[in-house]
Symmetry: C3
Subunit: 152 residues, 3 copies
């Protein structure tokens, strides 16, 4: 474990791992936009009237199942990953065991990528999506608990 | 007030308070998911067809008032708390008076918990929700102003 | 470029610029709420029944085009700017050229303000919104790539 002043430097392997996983998760979230756009163009269904002007047969609708599925996956990312972004940073400042912290970051990233795949790319029956979701949710709840106990 | 290089260490009481409040707010946001799930199971209404398979009488619908109420509360958290997460960090780097900063964090956290209670747990007439919301909104607007004036 | 330990201090001009742009973007996001409220009061259409009690003729509806337009703009901010908040921080820890980093922050902020204007304030025909969006999206994708290559 590093001295408190050195926790937020790239010589701390936990902070380096945090930055890497944040970038992978950020990229995953950014890729939800082309994933939505692909469904919109395939189905010629858009959210704003100005988007339909230049495409023959394009319509404004809000209930296409394939589009709404990707949008729900994206919203689920917002509900979960934006909390991870900042809670994982707070967690590493509790000076946790590096091995534990880095493996939690890894498990979280894998769980959220798995969640997107079984929800939005190749929809699979439950409980596949629930299992990926609960791993990510449980890790962030554990982190919030560690931070609260440490800094209360 | 701490020297600039020491603002982001846990020996700075403002940073410690920031980490604590971020964890409490993060946990509060994470708990919105079971709060939504509770309403979904109670009303047997889900967002994806694969969620309805194993429960008799379960349906896909998007207009149940109790479910949508919790979802609006969750979205309001996303719109407000994710901004606080990063703006409060920028604000503490303006090296504010510790007493002011810590009390702003406290007031923000209480206001957001209050907002969730009167919106999603025990719905109360307006202006209760508005008052909780405006306290949180006003604090974050004040913080953005302080940061812009300091670093412009 | 600064020594690694000094990247997160306000003597680093890139970090100072980061804090300034985060505050401007945060304020822009916070202003989406009064922008939505303005449309709600103008059209007397609200999301929760308790909001309609004290205004004659007010109704609960979810399909008013002017209100939904502002809400889509706000959600697009959440999908994009919350990723920027943390990815731009990770990016500045790769110790990039200060000139490049500061100009990317500036371009991002201008692009997101432009996106809001042409989507929610003075709706303009496509591709104006697409162009503002793709600049912001491209900058954050570039940043995630830089971080992944550096810390992998």
């Amino acid at each position: 474990m590093a001295a408190a002043e050195l926790l937020l430097t790239t010589s701390n392997p936990v902070f380096k791992a945090y930055l890497l996983h944040v970038a992978v998760l950020g990229l995953k979230m950014l890729l939800m936009s082309p994933l939505t756009a692909r469904q919109r163009f395939k189905n010629k269904i858009f959210a704003s009237p100005e988007d339909t002007v230049s495409m023959k047969g394009a319509k404004v609708k809000y209930d296409h199942p394939d589009i709404e599925r990707v949008r729900r996956g994206h919203l689920n990312d917002l509900e979960n990953i934006t909390v991870f972004f900042i809670v994982a940073l707070a967690y590493l400042l509790t000076n946790p065991s590096p091995g534990l912290a880095i493996n939690l970051f890894r498990a979280y990233t894998i769980a959220r990528i798995g969640h997107t795949i079984v929800y939005c790319v190749i929809p699979l029956p439950q409980p596949s999506r629930f299992l990926f979701w609960i791993v990510g949710w449980g890790i962030t709840v554990f982190m919030t608990g560690s931070v609260i106990l440490k800094f209360m």
